[in-house]
Symmetry: C2
């Protein structure tokens, strides 16, 4: 492919041809030697323009194939991934003290999370290589997105989830026909077992940090944001952070557009972690290496004690001039209510952690009220109904009796006024 | 509005101006006198063309505003409703014995069901009338779509659900800030209480059969199908049926396009009900009036013992030359697995009842294998996780121990072959 130059180790800079089976840098090892996909930006700039995109009727991530490491003639999963809505949320903006806020609702993807972007690219690459089975470990969303996208092409999957994965995500996996191994331990335990099985059986590896192509799928979220804003770049983008792959992808989207001349500035990137599991925030502010953390948060998708892409996540935020912040579980639940009440968007806990962090960043004056902000909702709240009820409470129960009803209605504050 | 001529009673033919507060025919009464919106099709044909739509970049139901009863300059809810994906599902087609099958995945709407189409129009009409509060009763999806769309515009809601409404739908309502009354009884009980409260307090009424504008929102699903098929009309469309509003809307979409000259034939329409609650199928095949039925099915969204729009639903299928068929709960659960496994689409039980029925209609020779079929998935499976697990089973549990893992993997049929 003319558009892809090579893969390059983010630690030592060594380059590798973009061939099947190349996952990590052989010099730096599987943990540290994560590879970046390097494109021929001159080639892209010469062959594609803003007008090309304006006339493109493919409203999915594949409209950005000029920026993707896939063969344009190769097989693609059938699900419509990407081109999620970008909402200008004025009432929400006012409440948290901003003039201009956009929410990017990536819970609107086919399997209801941003991870569909990564999995669609992984499945396309696996299909190019004619892989018979794809494996991964995941806190849930990567898993269900892989299972759904693979099912649409009839490719088998074997998926490792930690025992705590919420019911909605496990149900998706089973309906999509995945072989699901529920590891009775932490996400790290699930990751280790998946790595052992992938090595033993030679399966295609969708583990996000290891496979260099997944960040490429994720970056479509910010490429899309730029096009939806008519190639204007916001001052800040805010993402929740677990493994670190999503925020790294978000940053790469801007960098690729900048290098190919589609945008002329870069935003600041803010990463938000849960207080109960914040190894990247800690490393960022202490300037120390990443240390394993416990996984104590109800935001399961970002409960990652040993982030597999922590280095890319740190580098992205540092390069952008942004920052990291933590939020409590209570702040996350409050953000679920706030987002739903003001905007009709239902995010899962990890999906709204970004908004909870944004609220604090504005309150602390780190983000100014005049700055334009885009905040991502990374997954749909339907995936984790128990925590939604925890956030918003049970409904009022009434017998089929009008007199009981009048009593109840007259006691709901604000209803009849 | 030039495009809307008037409202017309489907029973006696009496016409009414399309004014605020007009819900049903005063002569035939609230139960029987359901009103249809009648457009000026000459006006539409003169002012809009296929080319107009080809150049329209509004990818939501509002692209079809020429066919909608709303004021183009009026307020609209902010959520992106409609333009859901239409998938050509070849592997699924082959398994059930068809050559050409499309699945319309309406679970991809913002609150994850087709009902968003109706609620978006209801909220737009309520906002035109400056209504401070919208009320409805619902088995769940109409409720959550109303709550989400209303929240996006800051309009209050009061919503009546039967006690059996699944957790996912109730969680959505609460997160969207709705006042939720859980009626400890049947859907009919919830409907009656909502009607009493709407009358007493003068609230805007979103109850689907009563409010003539909701079917108009629903019809966008088939207008979209026609445009997505490049204005080719399928031989059959298949929908699951509860209250009868959705199938009536699906038919109206084709009729409106036909009358305005956008298509030159009409499809046959098949309605699918659950065996445990099939009053419309019974009335259709017996040629007798509708009789109340019990509500014995796990497909909660179509468990409607007293359909509020049964007459329109019967009329639509009869006019089209189609038919009604019933499916068992087991057939519904099997359809959930089949759809997920072959296509990566996750539908709720009522959402896949159409597919279960289609499978039977093909097996019985009522639909020929050479006929082109579009089948709707009306809601996302994440809304009802318990039934998904019932359909697809629990995952395999493993301790964090590789030796236990090897034993497990080697015993999964087909995994390592």
């Amino acid at each position: 492919m003319k558009k892809v130059k090579h893969l390059q180790c983010i630690r030592c800079g060594k380059t590798y041809p973009a061939d099947p089976g190349t996952y990590t840098c052989t010099e730096c090892g599987a943990k540290a030697g994560i590879l970046d996909v390097v494109y021929d930006y001159d080639y892209i700039a010469k062959n594609y323009s803003k007008e090309y995109f304006a006339n493109n009727k493919e409203y999915s991530i594949w409209r950005y194939e000029p920026f993707l490491p896939t063969d344009p003639a190769g097989p693609k999963p059938k699900l419509r991934v990407g081109w999620s809505p970008l909402y200008k949320t004025d009432r929400l903006a006012e409440i948290i003290g901003l003039e201009t806020l956009y929410m990017k609702d990536d819970g609107q993807n086919p399997t209801a999370s941003l991870k569909d972007r990564a999995s669609a690219v992984a499945v396309a690459k696996a299909a190019e290589e004619k892989a018979p089975l794809i494996a991964c470990s995941s806190t849930g969303n990567a898993a269900s997105s892989l299972a759904g996208n693979a099912a649409s092409l009839g490719i088998k999957t074997c998926i490792f989830v930690p025992g705590r994965a919420p019911a909605g995500k496990v149900a998706q996996l089973r309906i999509f026909g995945a072989n699901v191994i529920s590891v009775q331990g932490s996400y790290s335990d699930a990751f280790k077992l998946s790595a052992a099985a992938i090595e033993k059986y030679g399966w295609y590896n969708r583990n996000a940090a290891i496979n260099p192509y997944l960040v490429e799928g994720k970056k479509t979220v910010t490429i899309e944001v730029c096009e939806q804003l008519n190639w204007e770049v916001p001052d800040w983008v805010v993402f929740s952070v677990g493994d670190g792959c999503t925020i790294a992808g978000a940053w790469k989207g801007f960098v690729d557009l900048y290098k190919a001349g589609f945008i002329n500035k870069l935003p600041k990137v803010a990463g938000v972690q849960a207080e109960g599991c914040a190894p990247i925030t800690k490393a960022f502010h202490s300037n120390q290496p990443l240390e394993p953390a416990e996984e104590n948060t109800l935001a399961d998708s970002i409960a990652v004690g040993v982030p597999r892409n922590g280095e890319k996540a740190l580098r992205a935020v540092r390069q952008s001039g942004g920052t990291y912040i933590n939020v409590s579980d209570e702040e996350i639940l409050a953000a679920m209510r706030l987002l739903g009440n003001t905007s009709g968007i239902f995010g899962e806990p990890a999906g709204v952690a970004g908004l909870a962090g944004l609220k604090k960043l504005v309150a602390e004056g780190i983000i100014d009220k005049k700055e334009t902000v885009v905040c991502a909702v990374t997954g749909n709240g339907l995936k984790d109904v128990n925590n939604a009820i925890k956030a918003a409470g049970e409904p009022i129960k009434v017998s089929p009796d009008v007199n009981e009803l009048w009593d109840v209605l007259e006691n709901i504050p604000g209803l009849l006024s």
